[in-house]
Amino acid sequence: MSSLELPSELWLKVFCDLPFESLLNIHAVSWLFSDLSTNFIFEDVHFYPRESSIARTKRAIQREFHRATFWSSDKVAPHVRKCTVELTWISSGSMVAEFAPQLLSAYFEAVSRFKNLEKLCCSLHNPTNIDLPPLRVEKSLSRLRVLDIRGVRLAPQTSPAIRLKLEDLSYADIHSSQSIGSDFLLSFDPTYLRRLCLELQSMSFLHDLLPDKHAMASFHYLHVLELRLQVTNIVDLHACLSSFPGIHDLTLQVWRIDAGFVPSTPLAPELRTYKGPMDLIPALDLGSSVLRTLTLTDGDSRVLLRKLREIRLGNSVVTAITSLTMLVRQWYIPETDSNLRDTLSFFPALQTLSLTMYSHHFIDQRPIHATFPQELCGRLAVILPVVHED
């Protein structure tokens, strides 16, 4: 019996978990093994100017163009399923800076030929603001599901009929303060998008999303939303989130939330998990039966207690929340006792409590809170009910 008598599927099973080094050797065994192993060998590619000693020479840059050509070839390109493009720290006057636009075009050209690409990450750090080409994601990438771009402009679709079938989109425009455009969402097929992570410098980017509320409302399956903003207010956030009907999981990183009017309807009624600042608590429906996990990234038990007392809860307790994460300011530990006990009394269903102690105070370069956890643990033992098992 020869190896040809074993079915190819079986060889694929054997090969699928092999380390990369072994796969390269399998690739060199015979035509059959070569064909079977190409899917694994060319599955993943990383485009970036290599940081070797010759990285800044013309020859090294030339090799990058050859690299892009190799991966674009008909034999290799269809096997690529994951791709990363990185062009970071393009310092002015360097060889990379000189060739950056052409190099990026060559990389993006290769990407456009990866017709089975499922995941694409692009990251540019371009402090010198060289004019770089935008990323075009056209219909050739019909299998693309995860797109993570940072510092890269996403070119508008040339045809409005083409909608990207992305399940997971992270879009961080870290250099530009331009708006993302009101047609941003129209580039994506609403039946696919599950997770959206947006980070924009533009102060008004929530307003950019708002004009097309009809488009937003069609994103029924968008369950996870992460927003990184500079400054916002509850009204804007509320308007933005209320248009996405399916949000289960909200993460908010914001420099400042301006105080103001709190709308009467709750923000994201289907919310199950919230991670973000306490300022949004008045807008959350803490009495909701689905909100289970609360992760607070600022304030401390004193502030939380004040917020909880300010809002009027239906049954005066938060019945559904089972997991709470919050900060404890070590400075207030002497007071933690009563604050924490009173705060926790709002959460009778709590099963998991995570406390992160923080301090900005240092003595001899060492954070002074290093000695405090024990004290806190001692206090917690008094505060928290101890469950005895018979």
Binding site: S22, L24, I26, F33
Partner: protein, 179 residues
């Protein structure tokens, strides 16, 4: 104990925790619950099942790490369990032994049996058995991946590349390595 019946109607009494390394048998046992009913394995012959399940007293020919050219001492798993079912690297129970005798035994594995074991492993859904290590380990101790020539010998594969094609594959591997 679990009663297994092979394609040639032989019966095997085997310890439950050993046979449960096979996802297929584990699922079957879960489906039938506590029962003395024999489990039929119509795709596995008795000779293959013996290799797969029999606890051995020493390294057997199917307990191959693929170091068949090596004569150096190396670490192998304790032989108290059927080595073929070992979870390889995850196992902590190890002992040191001279593998030269074991190597000789390995060389005697005929091609047919090797493929039957792979087929049985696939049917029984035993991941650790899919001979990955034979392809993974080089002939020299700690040498890394097994070179193509050794893989050809192991599976009796003819090198059907022309020298030009071989050079081309080498080039492709260079790009792939520097991906």
């Amino acid at each position: 104990m679990v009663l297994l019946v092979t394609s040639d109607n032989e019966q095997f009494q085997t310890e439950k925790d050993i046979v449960e390394r096979s996802v297929l048998i584990k699922n079957m046992l879960e489906d039938v619950g506590e029962s003395d009913q024999p489990i039929p394995l119509p795709n596995v012959s008795s000779s293959v099942l013996k290799k797969v399940t029999q606890p051995s007293t020493g390294p057997t020919e199917i307990d191959v790490r693929g170091r068949y050219l090596s004569t150096a001492s190396t670490t192998v798993e304790s032989p108290s369990r059927p080595p073929i079912l070992e979870q390889s690297q995850d196992e902590t129970r190890k002992r040191t032994t001279d593998i030269s005798e074991w190597d000789q035994k390995f060389i005697t594995v005929d091609q047919e049996m090797l493929f039957e074991i792979i087929l049985a492993a696939n049917y029984l859904d035993i991941k650790s058995l899919l001979c990955r290590r034979w392809l993974q380990d080089g002939s020299q101790h700690d040498q890394g991946a097994r070179p193509p020539e050794e893989i050809r010998k192991l599976f009796n594969i003819v090198n059907d590349f022309t020298p030009e094609e071989e050079a081309q594959i080498k080039k492709e591997n260079e790009w792939a390595e520097d991906r």
